[in-house]
Amino acid sequence: MSTATPTAKKASGIAGSVETEQAAQRSPFARFTPQQISGAVPAVLFVVLFVVMISVQGQFSSSLLQTVLETTVPLMLVGFGQTLVILTRGIDLSVGGIFSLSTALIATKITSDGDMVVWIPLVILIGLGAGAINGLLIVRTRMQPFIVTLASWSVFSGLALLALPTEGGSVAPGLTSALSGSALVPKALILALVLVVVWIVLRRTRFGTAILSVGSSEAAAKLNDVPVDRTKIIVYALSGMFAALGALYYVAVLTFSGSPVAGDPFILQSVAAVVIGGTSLAGGRGSLIGTILGALSLSMIAQIVFFSGAESYWSQFVQGMLILGAVLLFAVVELVIRRRNPNATEEA
């Protein structure tokens, strides 16, 4: 196939130039892709909140940075899994149950350094397996992810209570010293950067494309020979694994003991971080980097409220407003994009 007919070239040329000409006139966002716009919003939000936090506290200290990062790492980890799931147009409510179950196991089984060799991999595997069960149920029964993971959240929470009926237990000191503090830079920062790198690599694999394809249009993904079912199962399995990893960090660095309900706040927080981060709940579009910025933004709000001396319930209020604001903003962006790129349905 080498020669092109001049008519065809001209034909597409006519349609093409009209479109771009209109686009240029229609919107100030015309030069940006939707991905760029939804990526810029969480970044701007992050910078604004960061500046506010510094000014409220009066000074910048590396210990503040470390505190914010350390308190956010569990949410970043859970949010990673949640991002993958939401990109496939699903949702994982069971992360709370898996997280709780993991903290219970960690606080009862990993109490001395010697337990780590067996139980750290085991906890991660249990998270992976629990998530895979979600995925299998969703794929095989064609039930809604919302319902399946709501039910399994309850099941895993029950198991957590079975393993650790009340708050308590302890964690091996070796695990704490391995994950907390800072070597040259805060270890939490390194972890966050590792997550970003994992995401960038993942995005360029066939699996990464498959995730976006499934969320973008399941039917079209099938027609393109994308393994839809397998992708979904893996995504839920990974979400379970990241919940377990989050729990590991949470117990080792933040609480030093387990709780059978520790994971529950992470259910909605992780969804919130994903949404603020610009990932579309309709699937197919978004980024983990946005989720990390979203998670950090949520933590910084808590810090700002704390430093300004207001009662702590204000932080929930502000976080809620932020989520609403973010959703609203992305809806507006979506509208602008549609105006700019009218499909044949709008602009024949």
């Binding site: 597409s12 093409g16 479109e19 000409e21 209109q22 694999t205 393109n224 024949a348």
Partner: protein, 516 residues
């Protein structure tokens, strides 16, 4: 079934034998056979729901047959997935676009595999973009940025990407399932050039199209499907246009595609003065009479759809709109509906139908208020009676009105759309290219309905990308060029040639021009 008379009956390269497929109670294929040879273009024709699309989906691996065998070069193969079919060299341009809207054009080109990779096995995006551009250049596709999200392109360009994607994999068997229905004529000719070249290189091509002309332009062999089976097959020169249509319908057409609508009354129903909407269209003025079918023509993207949407209160506009002497301030579809305006959109799947609801519920949705008992509860009895009446008068082909609308064929979905618009009792109907991708039989029914409605005094603004049907159906046709009405054709000046000429140049040479 009927290849005995064919002198080259032996030596088929692809054979789909005795295929059967049912969806619930609806039989899509009842014992159909299709044979093809490398280096031939094979056109599949038939009404919607005749089974040609199902047959292609079976060959392409996206649908599994209930019974039947698929032979490639004499050996039985299984195409249980699109991927497996692809590995056998079968590539399909699907009717429902298989592009992933959120992925970039370049990512879409390689989502099924074949993406350029870096040393570590990761996708090399820059190389993928370059390779995409290269494929586009080779095929002569201009002005599509490999980086833009596929969903942001106009439908016609999406179709070009889809075609390029499939062809770039060099299939031995190429299936074009309604690949031309969204394309402007120039791009259809472009595609046909490529298809001829592929055929000469030894590719077997299946072409599904509702445009008979395209079959005669391109095909070497034709198979006509009817009622889920292959009704007639043979080399192209055994067919004439008339014999094809008769084979498709199983009866004579009775000239209903050609029949003129009754003359309109002199009363003016719709007056539009100086209507503009940003850059989409500007300074549009027109009058539509009571009982008139007024056509809108022109190249794609000249503002036809936004104009109709503006009259439906869906796109914001400025200017004067007067309906039956009353000035309208159209800010929402609800206001338009109340004023007696109904719109039948182009994309019935996303704009007009609640796909997961039953046919009955879709038909009665706009008029629910009328089927209430005590003004609050829906009366199933009244609803049923109303829906059945509508479905019968439109001859919707369905197993049961309880079935999901999504189970209907495209043409029948379009009829449900029409039913919805009609049931609200509209005085002015806005049709947005509703006959695109609709088979001859359904088209004839839709046209008959349009004539009946016009005879009853309903006015119709009819945008169509098919100049032939505008000429046969409309009293007057406005050609849009450069985002405004360039000329209005009527009487002897209303010819296919003039429409096409005005579409590309904005004027008509040496014929009478009549402005409204």
């Amino acid at each position: 079934m009927s290849d005995q008379v064919d002198p080259n009956a032996a030596g088929w390269d692809l054979q789909a034998l005795d295929m059967r497929k049912s969806y619930g109670k609806v039989t899509a294929l009842a014992d159909a056979t299709l044979k093809a040879r490398y280096g031939e273009v094979h056109a599949l024709l038939g009404e919607n729901g005749a089974g040609k699309s199902t047959m292609c989906k079976i060959i392409s691996g996206s649908v599994r047959p209930d019974e039947g065998r698929l032979l490639l070069g004499g050996e039985e193969i299984r195409t249980a997935s699109v991927g497996e079919a692809m590995r056998h060299g079968i590539g399909t341009v699907f009717q429902e676009l298989s592009l992933l809207p959120d992925l970039s054009v370049a990512e879409n080109m390689f989502v099924g595999g074949g993406a350029p990779r870096m040393a570590a096995g990761l996708v090399d995006r820059r190389a993928a973009r370059r390779r995409t551009q290269q494929i586009f250049d080779e095929l002569g596709i201009a002005d599509i940025d490999p980086r833009s999200p596929a969903g942001s392109l106009p439908l016609a360009q999406q179709q070009l990407v889809e075609i390029a994607k499939v062809i770039s994999r060099r299939p031995k068997i190429l299936i074009l399932d309604e690949a031309t229905s969204t394309l402007p004529r120039q791009d259809v000719l472009w595609l046909f050039d490529i298809v001829r070249r592929l055929r000469d290189e030894g590719t077997a091509v299946f072409l599904i199209s509702h445009r008979l002309r395209e079959a005669f332009e391109l095909a070497d062999r034709i198979t006509v499907f009817r009622n889920g089976t292959d009704a007639k097959t043979g080399p192209i020169d055994e067919f004439t246009e008339d014999s094809l249509v008769e084979a498709m319908l199983g009866r004579e057409l009775g000239g209903s595609l050609e029949q003129r609508p009754p003359e309109p009354t002199p009363e003016v129903r719709l007056e539009v003065r100086g209507l503009s909407a940003g850059t989409r269209f500007r300074d549009v003025s027109l009058d539509v009479h009571k009982g008139e079918i007024f056509g809108l023509a022109g190249l794609q993207g000249q503002g036809q759809t936004p104009l109709l949407q503006a009259l439906y209160g869906w796109t914001r506009s400025s200017g004067e709109v007067v309906l039956d002497g009353k000035a309208l301030d159209l800010r929402s579809p609800r206001q338009a509906i109340r004023a007696g305006i109904a719109l039948v959109p182009e994309d019935r799947r996303t704009e007009g139908l609640a796909l997961e609801m039953s046919i009955r519920d879709n038909l009665t949705l706009p008029t629910l208020r009328r089927h209430m008992s005590l003004k609050t509860l829906i009366s199933p009895r009244r609803e049923d009676a109303f829906a059945e009446h509508l479905a019968r008068s439109l001859s919707v082909k369905a197993g049961s009105l309880e079935d999901d609308v999504s189970s209907l064929s495209g043409g029948n979905q379009q009829k449900v759309m029409l039913g919805k618009a009609l049931s609200a009792g509209a005085k002015l109907l806005l049709f947005v290219d509703i006959t695109r991708g609709v088979d001859v039989g359904t088209k004839a029914e839709i046209f008959a309905l349009m004539r009946r409605l016009a005879g009853e005094g309903t006015s119709i603004l009819f945008y169509s990308s098919d100049a032939t049907e505008l000429v046969s159906m409309c009293h007057r046709v406005a050609v849009m060029f450069d985002h405004t009405i360039a000329t209005v054709l009527e009487g002897a000046a209303l010819t296919e040639r003039n429409i096409v000429q005005a579409s590309v140049s904005g004027r008509v040479a040496a014929t009478t021009e009549v402005a409204s």
